[in-house]
Symmetry: C2
Subunit: 393 residues, 2 copies
């Protein structure tokens, strides 16, 4: 009587959530100080002051009917206008408010786009491993297949030849996530230009567009002034899925968008299909209060300095202990080769010391572990001696 697939999905928690729950239980038993939890990508800085002031002002002064009322399914026009203006102030492409569809964060944005691009059970999407494991869940919403291409195992940039091998006439889209979860890599302009060239050639051969789904929750989290090229400028058939979860530290409030840029193939049909797919998964409108917050805070930015301090501290210490870590140019993850090469065994050893690290198996990279450094600096300082002791396999 119960859908088996849904039951299985609901009854086994993700490895990350499992570790996080274990950490909470250990902290209750042994005290917060005893646990070094690097499991979850939950921002450890509050939302920018501007965001908090805006919420206060709206709660005090806004007309409650507007603040709490339904908006159009695609989001309030004024909000979409503000987002388009901000994008146009940074990038070329002439985004219009009608190119945007606001969602309850990146997860339903991705789900709606996958659903909109699934035309049969043979439809295929491609992820670059290591990748955010929920892609496998979201892309399956209408029964499509997820194929995997390994990233370059040194730079963790896209391996163009490896990607080419998994493209088929059934390929509907390639998911690009830069800055990357779990590696922290930021794809270079060179990487993205090579990707665009490959996809354009294969699209021409197969006789249909191959979309890029650009999953960008970490867009604003880039260090050392590194460039994060705007994919629609490089490859027109790009659909952007954005979230304010990480950039404005609003993960629980669920606000983000789908952007189908003006030059994207089948622009209107695709936007309609995103709207229809969203409707079919119970989307009514993105949370209205936070639409209003975003309208007034499109220029707000995360506390990069906070993450950067953590990044330097952790990366410098771990490399000095002999860990081999991916160059952490963006997001708030450090992705390192497990001493001994078996990340599951290594993270189990770490877990016995109450140091919680996510083994890369679920990301499609079982040799590496992920440490989410969106934590208090004190957590890192407590963890360093444990990392040092564990460095020898």
């Amino acid at each position: 009587m119960i859908n088996r697939e849904a039951w299985e999905l609901g009854s086994r928690r993700s490895c990350i959530r499992e570790l996080f729950a274990y950490g909470r239980a250990q902290a209750q038993k042994l005290g917060e100080e005893a646990v070094c939890d690097f499991s979850l990508g939950n921002p450890a800085t509050p939302p920018p002051e501007e965001v908090r002031n805006t919420l206060r002002a709206l709660a005090q002064e806004a007309d409650p009917m507007t603040l709490h009322g339904y908006t159009a399914a695609e989001g309030a026009a004024t909000v979409r206008r503000a987002i388009a203006d901000e994008l146009n102030s940074r990038y070329r492409g002439g985004v219009r408010e009608s190119d945007l569809f606001l969602t309850a964060g990146a997860a339903p944005a991705l789900t709606a786009v996958f659903a909109a691009l699934t035309v049969s059970p043979e439809s295929e999407f491609v992820a670059i491993a290591p990748f955010f494991p929920e892609y496998a869940v979201f892309s399956g919403v209408r029964g499509a297949k997820l194929r995997i291409a390994d990233a370059d195992r040194k730079s963790f940039q896209i391996d163009i030849q490896a990607l080419d091998k998994v493209l088929t006439p059934a390929t509907q889209a390639v998911i690009v996530n830069s800055p990357n979860n779990p590696t922290g890599a930021v794809y270079t302009r060179e990487t993205l230009t090579a990707l665009a060239k490959l996809l354009a050639a294969r699209a021409a051969r197969f006789g249909h567009p191959i979309y890029v789904i650009s999953d960008e929750p970490y867009r604003e989290l880039v260090y050392d002034g590194k460039e994060t090229p705007y994919l629609p400028e490089i490859y027109p058939d790009t659909v952007v899925c954005y979230s304010y979860s990480k950039s404005l530290s609003l993960p629980g409030d669920r606000i983000g968008y789908v952007l189908v840029p003006p030059a994207c193939a089948d622009h209107d049909a695709l936007l309609y299909a995103v709207a229809g797919a969203a409707r079919s998964i119970g989307h009514v409108c993105a949370p209205a209060t936070y639409q209003q917050v975003i309208e007034r805070c499109t220029g707000a930015r995360p506390d990069l300095a906070f993450y950067d301090r953590n990044r330097r501290l952790l990366w410098e210490a771990l490399t000095s202990y002999g860990y081999d870590c991916v160059s952490p140019d963006g997001a708030f993850y450090l992705f390192c080769r497990a001493p001994g090469g078996d990340a599951k065994a290594f993270s189990d050893r770490a877990k016995r010391e109450n140091l919680l690290l996510v083994p890369g198996g679920d990301f499609g990279c079982p040799t590496h572990f992920r440490a989410a450094y969106c934590v208090e600096e004190a957590v890192i300082r407590r963890a360093l001696p444990i990392f040092r002791a564990l460095a020898k396999p």
Copy 2:
């Protein structure tokens, strides 16, 4: 390259949204005073003072990391505890916090339950016509069939014999929506007891449970002290989908829940399947700020007096003009037989006078129209002469 079903769903707006958009355009052209818009079920009263004060206090004083952070997928434990306590203060059944799964309103709650209960393309759900047209969208998320049983055409209570005729061994659940959209009918204890008796008998014959999905966004909107029996007390295999959209005038903020009561068949598996189905449609957690609001406002109630004044005014006038209206015991809709019996033709006539009424065809009842009286009283007063003039077919 684009999913056709999603494209179709996204490109044709619902009849209700279409009328609403037409009304906005007419109001811009002719002025607000020229349009009498009864199309949309958008609450016309602000949230209760208690809710607005709570939001202000949270925005001022709450720890921003807790206010905006991820919660568990099922919702924060303290919030679910508060909801369970409030339910237990009103009803028997011993609801536990672990029986609740918080969602972004009733739409994704329903979608997750339909998905959890769809085991094959042969799975069937039953709606009682007239019914909220999105049931047809949500129930189809995993390809199940929606079958229709007509309500009694006099009382608009469930017609038990008509329902029995559409039950089959493939029936997974019957959707019950009381107080009802679009009719305003509130199912009596007698109706629900007869329903329970029928479903128990058919479940025994078919050898598996038949669930009731109780869609309850209008639970708190009942007039004249009428009783709204709590379905899990009458029929244990009931799953409740609740929303605070109407009861607390928070439609845009998207907060509600699925309740699988303790005595429900396959309780644990069903809750896991709801969680898994929600995850597969991009649910991460219900909006965190509004979880906190709900925790502190479980006892808040809508401004019933406001709706009741409108209800009396509209019902008394329309019946005095000769309209045949369903007894409007709950929700904020008046459902009336169209003079002449063709609601589409009638609502087109009304539209020419800028009086916007939803014809019942999309609800599965083409003889009646729906007037949503969640509007300013002045709108009703302006509309009465038009209703009077249109009363003769």
